[in-house]
Symmetry: C2
Subunit: 241 residues, 2 copies
Amino acid sequence: MKIEKSEDLSAQIAQAIRDAIIEGRMIVDERLPSEAELSEQFGVSRSTVREALKRLAAQALIRTQRGAFGGAFVNRLSYEEAYGQNVTTSTLLLSMNAVSFETACEARYAMERACAPLAAERRTADHLATMRAEIHRQAQPGLSDESFCASDVALHRALVDAAGNPVLSYQLAGAVEAMQPLMNMITFTARSREEIVTLHTKLANALESNDADGADAALCDLELYTLSLGQKFMASRASNR
Amino acid sequence: MKIEKSEDLSAQIAQAIRDAIIEGRMIVDERLPSEAELSEQFGVSRSTVREALKRLAAQALIRTQRGAFGGAFVNRLSYEEAYGQNVTTSTLLLSMNAVSFETACEARYAMERACAPLAAERRTADHLATMRAEIHRQAQPGLSDESFCASDVALHRALVDAAGNPVLSYQLAGAVEAMQPLMNMITFTARSREEIVTLHTKLANALESNDADGADAALCDLELYTLSLGQKFMASRASNR
DNA sequence: GATTTATAAATGTCAGACAATTAAAGGTCT
DNA sequence: AGACCTTTAATTGTCTGACATTTATAAATC
């Protein structure tokens, strides 16, 4: 295994194993050599090998099992795990890089609109039922802001899933969920749930009648309305200083 | 800091620190306590703390610096780092989960078409120049299959960047790059570069004249053509068995 | 044959040591 | 005073060796 220079040994070893997995030299569920064997092969101590393995475990590339005939195994990366990684990374990226509300909003709705035609074609009764249920919850008066936001995410998640493409779901659901903190700020102040529920209903109706253009229009309206809420919020925050 | 149970100590400690970063209790560039201090605080050995820190380093959440006044610091997650994580995760997800060519292709073009209207509006001369240069390279006869694929990725990357939304670029570029291995299989066998170059040119022309619909149409054509190439490839592979 | 008990292999954790790096403080010379 | 060297202390990186814990298999017992 080739190794770069001027990095921690544990990082180099992790990279070497990572490459082996990515390039297919190690297949799913294959067992890695034991920590003792690896430390011999790489000529380092067991601690260093362990640090390398923890790095890989943090990326869900391997899983470990204790006991006899245990060890580290190449992990089949599930959609669930990849999704979790994506949400963590996206959330931090947004919170650490002063992404404007406009930019985040634009990206989010651009991607959701990419799902709309597929969702209009393939949505099942299940997807529709989920969306209707969330809309119904959103219309209830006593709902807390946190619950309203969570319900909003669930509805948009259903839209994405309705496109029936797991790759699309994985990529987009992370983006949608990562933006929840930004969205929270806004719904906490603006009390315009009625309008949002109306637009959500319009979206669900369009999907129910397999109307791709109608779904797209509903999403465009929703984007514009969300943007206006955001700008109102930013303005009010600016004047309070 | 709260801790779950029945996981490795190092995983629990990593999660505790990760939560502190995600929830904003630690800010960018803030220094973590030294390994010795952390091992005291959590009541574990230094090795265990180190394994936890390596987990966080693998996710680019922290960076470490040796020497006096060194230590571990909360890392500002850059688009570059997030992008790298996304590519690694997406590549593995696709290679390990038997994603069909059709599904991957559909997801890819659905997302690229989401960029088209924005790109048609905002593309700069730079983006156009990049695309033209890649198209010119793709038309050269002696080009290897690997270089052709790399050029294809560069062109699509330019399209995504032309939308002028860094969040969109981060989300989509990973998806496009992760599909290169799948695309490689196909261009290795099908020798229809001429048609691809024609469609790429159509796309660049549409962007140059700020024609969103034309760009969308070009991408649709490209998707259909790519799909037909893929099906031809799959059929030929099936008959060879 | 079923159940219990040992065994061995592997990861998880700990303690202590030393090497390597690095910024800051202190010292020396001009 | 200012520039250059030297020391120092703090911190991460690495190594060694030990012991605890877990767990599948093999052996022993009933």
